[in-house]
């Protein structure tokens, strides 16, 4: 058949773009020639908005960035402010933060698993993954009263103590997840349709991934071991024993395996944190009106999607002069053209899903 280039629009209203993302595709029959991602449909001017709010008032708005892992955003921002203001957080508060952040990672990965399988065509996985995620959201509801936009971390500590009843409930939730995961693995791991749609699709080499700035599970699926929790520990992560799962081929299937293994490692971390929960205060003394002397800080954490960084510049008042956010989804999205080129048109959905992007974080 003669060469014929066709331009196609995917999105902004498309169920598999995970939000309002528009992809401009050039295809030759079934093969993708180029992909151009057009973003900005969900832009809310977050970074400018934060300049008009006090340091404390910003925290609930960071929930609205990556709304599938809102607590990780809270943690990233709060740690940056604490570094800027020189606030020492009590050890118990740091442990509770680890418990919550890892539960949030579980919830985010389980939601990803459901969406990704649903995009590729296995709908039962969506239902099973969401059932497991629901039990984690119930824990968040019991801890701080909200499920999705949690606002579960305050500057200087955490809002509530983690009592024995809640710890027992978290353990019960953790016991249930591996069983659900085994069901999902039985459905997907060897399934020939799943393997044909994922193995060898959307490959990226480790060098290219680093050059594109890819982070998080997508980078580790290429075999590059870089996890901020291990390499630049924050919030007492150096006190826990866990492995960093690595893939080999950097394709969609390896990203799936890496995320599944990360779920198991997160369960390990939460169990250790609950076992070794130290006694003490849950919050440091923080002045009600927090004024920070002129300085600047950049702090990064390992969010479920990748490396999340906050740059804050203070000017002596109770409001930040400038906040800039390094969002993992935005940077991971840039490599989508590299991954899609030469693949089939129908695999664009699977590749885009495997990057685990959230548009709230991309457009800010």
């Amino acid at each position: 058949m003669a060469f014929k280039e066709i331009n196609l629009n995917m999105g902004p209203q498309h169920p598999s773009t995970h939000g309002v993302l528009r992809l401009k595709l050039a295809v030759d029959n079934e093969v993708v020639l180029s992909v151009e991602s057009i973003i900005g449909y969900l832009h809310r001017g977050m970074e400018k908005l934060w300049e008009n709010l006090t340091y404390t008032q910003v925290v609930p708005l960071t929930d609205r960035l990556d709304y599938l892992a809102s607590l990780s955003n809270n943690l990233g921002y709060v740690l940056a402010v604490e570094k800027l203001a020189g606030i020492e957080v009590p050890r118990r508060a740091r442990y509770i933060r680890v418990v919550l952040a890892e539960l949030q990672r579980l919830a985010s990965h389980l939601a990803w698993l459901g969406f990704q399988a649903n995009d590729i065509g296995a709908m039962s996985v969506l239902l099973y993954g969401f059932e497991a995620r629901e039990t984690i959201l119930d824990v968040f509801e019991e801890y701080c009263g909200a499920r999705l936009t949690i606002h579960g971390i305050r500057i200087g500590g955490v809002p509530h103590d983690l009592d024995a009843a809640l710890a027992a409930r978290i353990r019960k939730v953790l016991d249930g997840i591996p069983r659900r995961l085994a069901d999902i693995r039985a459905l997907l791991d060897d399934n020939r349709i799943w393997k044909q749609r994922t193995v060898g699709v959307g490959r990226i080499a480790a060098d290219d991934a680093i050059a594109y700035g890819l982070t998080g599970p997508c980078l580790r699926a290429c075999g590059a071991a870089w996890d901020m929790r291990k390499d630049v520990p924050y919030s007492s992560y150096d006190e826990f024993d866990f492995d960093v799962p690595l893939g080999r081929n950097g394709d969609v299937y390896d990203r799936y395996l890496v995320r599944l293994e990360e779920i198991c490692q997160s369960i390990r971390i939460v169990r250790q944190a609950l076992d070794g929960l130290p006694e003490g205060e849950t919050s440091a003394k923080v002045p009600r009106v927090l004024k920070v002397a002129p300085a600047e800080v950049f702090h990064t954490i390992e969010a479920p999607k990748g490396i999340l960084g906050f740059y804050i510049r203070s000017n002596g008042t109770d409001k930040p002069e400038r906040v800039k956010m390094k969002s993992p989804s935005f940077i991971n999205l840039q490599s989508v053209e590299h991954m899609c080129k030469g693949n089939l048109f129908s695999d664009v959905v699977g590749i885009l899903g495997s990057l685990d992007i959230v548009l709230g974080e991309i457009d800010k």
Partner: protein, 160 residues
């Protein structure tokens, strides 16, 4: 695994049957879906629903119109005016407007309140048929929460 083993596994659809066994087992497991309007799940103890004002045991309002919640709010939900009556010990609010459509349910107002007058209710039905219903005035603030259950939804505050 040998080539014959792989061929047999593939020929007899072992991977598919394993998956179908899971779906079949879970088909007969206990249902987890809550049929919402008929069945309502009770929110947790700390649930952050609509904020409401409380009175003390004698029926006196707890709010002293100090505007701490108004200052703490990041989204400007509150519009409060207070007045001290002749002979009264403390200020009382004469105007207490709260905008449901602006609230992010972050909880700063509840945390800063010195008299514990403003607290979260467990009311989660936030819809309304017109925008006016989303603006709560002083009497509505005492109504909000458990008393709202007699209404269809918090936003319109129309009887069922």
């Amino acid at each position: 695994m040998s080539r014959i083993g792989r061929f047999l596994k593939s020929f007899f659809l072992v991977d598919m049957l394993r998956g179908l066994a899971v779906t079949l087992r879970l088909y007969f497991s206990r249902k987890v879906t809550v049929q919402y309007p008929e069945q309502v799940q009770e929110p947790a103890e700390r649930f952050r629903g609509i904020v409401r004002l409380y009175r003390d045991d004698k029926g006196e309002p707890l709010c002293i119109a100090c505007k701490a919640c108004q200052r703490a709010c990041g989204t400007n939900c509150f519009d409060i005016e207070g007045k001290k009556e002749e002979g009264a010990k403390v200020m009382r609010p004469t105007k207490f407007d709260w905008k449901l459509d602006r609230c992010t349910f972050c909880g700063f107002c509840v945390e800063v309140c010195p008299t514990n007058a403003i607290r979260f209710s467990r009311e989660f039905r936030l819809t309304g048929t017109d925008k006016d219903g989303l603006l709560f005035h002083l009497p509505d603030m005492y109504l909000a929460g458990e008393d709202l259950q007699s209404y269809l939804c918090a936003g319109c505050r129309r009887p069922r």
